[in-house]
Symmetry: C2
Subunit: 229 residues, 2 copies
Amino acid sequence: MNGRYRNGVRVGIIDGTTIAQSIRDDVAQKIKVFRAQYPQFQPQLVVVQAGECPDSTTYIRMKAKAAEEVGIKFNHVTFPETAMAEEIIQVVKKLSDDDAVGGVHVQLPLGPNVNADDTRAVTEAVSPEKDVDGFHAYNIGHLSLRAASPLFVPCTPAAVIRLLENTGVSIAGANTVVLGRSDIVGNPVAALLRSRNATVTQCHSRTKNVEQIIANWQITVANSSLGNK
Amino acid sequence: MNGRYRNGVRVGIIDGTTIAQSIRDDVAQKIKVFRAQYPQFQPQLVVVQAGECPDSTTYIRMKAKAAEEVGIKFNHVTFPETAMAEEIIQVVKKLSDDDAVGGVHVQLPLGPNVNADDTRAVTEAVSPEKDVDGFHAYNIGHLSLRAASPLFVPCTPAAVIRLLENTGVSIAGANTVVLGRSDIVGNPVAALLRSRNATVTQCHSRTKNVEQIIANWQITVANSSLGNK
């Protein structure tokens, strides 16, 4: 982290682009070494999308580019926006059973016909061993266990920790605040900080005196507003 | 809670015995009503024990008594203290597959030949649908999800919440401290408080200024010392 000071507090910009590139270089190298030994092995990631939500399409394009760069075969399975959970689940299960597929990633949201409960059912149709999102209850459970050994960790929380660690800030023993308790950011970030020996206070839309709590703690992880969290 | 005051702070004794009796009465009544409609249905709980740790034996005797009182058939499967994880797993899987068994409870610890990883494997040999302890990663995962809908909740944390609710203290919006981050108490209590809209700070052996944190918060859940937590 670049060290500048403002009002006596060190402020810095974390260079995520460079860190991301070093992660991709590392993955590419590992795949190369592994394939030199097992040439018939071809890692493959399949992304499942329903509809064409522009944000999702952009994310998927970026994932495809990153996969290609590191030597992971990328496959994109699309459903119309009107798809029902049952048909998506059927395909997700088939992909989970396919030995040629190493990772199954369901891009959320899944369209207007798939409500929250159905989305959970689709998420859990992914085999925990191929759940690259780390969203299966089995992996979330292992993330919150004291031994913290999930097969996969959700990517945004994992990135938050990686970026924090890169600053040189000490997480162990720090008093930290996590704003939000969503399944994709707040809750897993809190679990990851806790397993790294931070003391975690988790704030959300029902928390009183958030400003005061933040002022007294050393690390704050925020993810947009708390309005609907 | 009986309302007495000491130094201006209300202190009270929560009458757990009476609450426990009312829960057993409620369960007994539900089973009676259900069995009047489905006489062939006989709920059955099986407890699996390895060795004869005196605490475990006492707990199991109390569970057997409570089960008998409410009309749940109780079965006790025992292994010698020297049992290996593999043989226990085999029996646990068989019980999980047995339609006559409604709940499988593995009494911990499992003896000197079963380490932490093996204990986790035994725990996950229980089908999530019969995991009355709520210790399977699948149920722990659902407990930590925002929608918080595990099939079973670990009993001590569930009791903590029930006792707290019984005091009339408002959990939603309260600033709470949980001391400890064990899988059987601290972590699930924190998840339960969070899902009831409390703001939770979780303290553990690496937390600095625990006294100060407790002094500022409204509800503290403590479970013995923090020495090894």
